[in-house]
């Protein structure tokens, strides 16, 4: 290294940043370390080994789902039967009404004759 380069090296010697620089960086870094809600949940999930409950929860979910579906299916079938019964009653009611009319007509016709 020649004299000029030595001068350059001296000119480009390191400088210290402001005295509170490291403190400020660490304060921000500490804030960065605070986990977000999702990360906190993930962390809890791993720490408490909650993942072990996943199969049990899945089975419970399936059973509950099955029960709810069965109830829904029964209710739908009941509704259909009710609907059929109402239609049958309506038909029966109409037929009865027509028969009554016929009887009435016949009876009044006979009286007229």
């Amino acid at each position: 290294m020649n004299e000029f380069e030595e001068q350059l090296k001296q000119a480009l010697s390191r400088r210290e940043p402001p005295s509170d620089f490291a403190e400020r960086v660490l304060a921000i870094a500490r804030n960065q370390s605070r986990p977000a809600a999702a990360a906190r949940l993930r962390l809890w999930f791993h720490r408490t080994r909650a993942w072990r409950l996943v199969p049990v929860l899945a089975a419970l979910l399936m059973m509950t789902g099955g029960t709810v579906y069965e109830q829904h299916r029964r209710a739908a079938r009941g509704e259909a039967v009710k609907e059929q019964l109402l239609v049958a009653m309506h038909i029966a009611g109409s037929s009865l009404h027509r028969a009554q009319h016929r009887i009435f007509d016949v009876e009044t016709g006979e009286v007229t004759q």
Binding site: F4, R14, Q32, S33, A39, L43
Partner: protein, 183 residues
């Protein structure tokens, strides 16, 4: 691994690495700040970018393999940040070495001011020459090391350093000449 942090650590686990990170900040703050200061000649900007560099290091702490890796990483990221910053500030025209004025009267008074003068001249070099000169003379890095940090060929670094030195020598010679002719 530098600290007891597992790879892919979540933020809370990074907390455990804070003491080691604090040591790294303390050990390298002058290096990072000085590269940025010599490159940008703007105290607050150098401070702001140095802070960003260390916070990025903190985010990537889990991938740091050794203290040498940290040093290499910091030099590379700092150099890239400095160059990016200058490129983004292109709206503010860069002063060329030739356009840079002669030293002030005060600077001519004594050779002790030569350092301040050289610092100012380095900051006016073209970006690539400037970063190569800063890494070579501030950090005392070999040409191959600079090439690795900047991701370019060693021969290119050599050219940049030589061109930078030539420009600085020419400008300094002119300054000394002017100084000699002063009464």
């Amino acid at each position: 691994m530098v600290a007891t942090v597992a790879s892919g650590a979540v933020p809370a686990e990074r907390d455990a690495a804070l003491p080691a990170f604090a040591e790294a900040v303390e050990a390298h703050k002058a290096m990072v700040y000085s590269i940025l200061w010599h490159f940008l000649r703007d105290r607050s900007l150098a401070e702001e970018l140095a802070q960003d560099v260390f916070l990025e290091l903190h985010r990537n702490w889990a991938s740091m393999k050794s203290s040498q890796h940290i040093l290499f990483w910091l030099r590379r990221v700092t150099s890239n940040r400095a160059i990016d910053c200058v490129r983004k500030r292109k709206a503010r025209p860069e002063t060329s070495l030739e356009e840079t004025g002669e030293p002030t009267v005060l600077e001519r008074v004594h050779d002790a001011f030569l350092s301040a003068y050289l610092e100012r001249m380095v900051a006016s070099l073209p970006e690539k020459q400037r970063i190569a000169i800063v890494l070579r003379y501030q950090e005392g890095m070999e040409l191959e090391e600079i090439a690795e940090v900047l991701g370019i060929k060693a021969a290119t670094v050599k050219t940049q350093v030589f061109r930078g030195l030539d420009l600085l020598r020419a400008k300094t010679a002119r300054r000394l000449e002017t100084h000699r002719h002063q009464p």
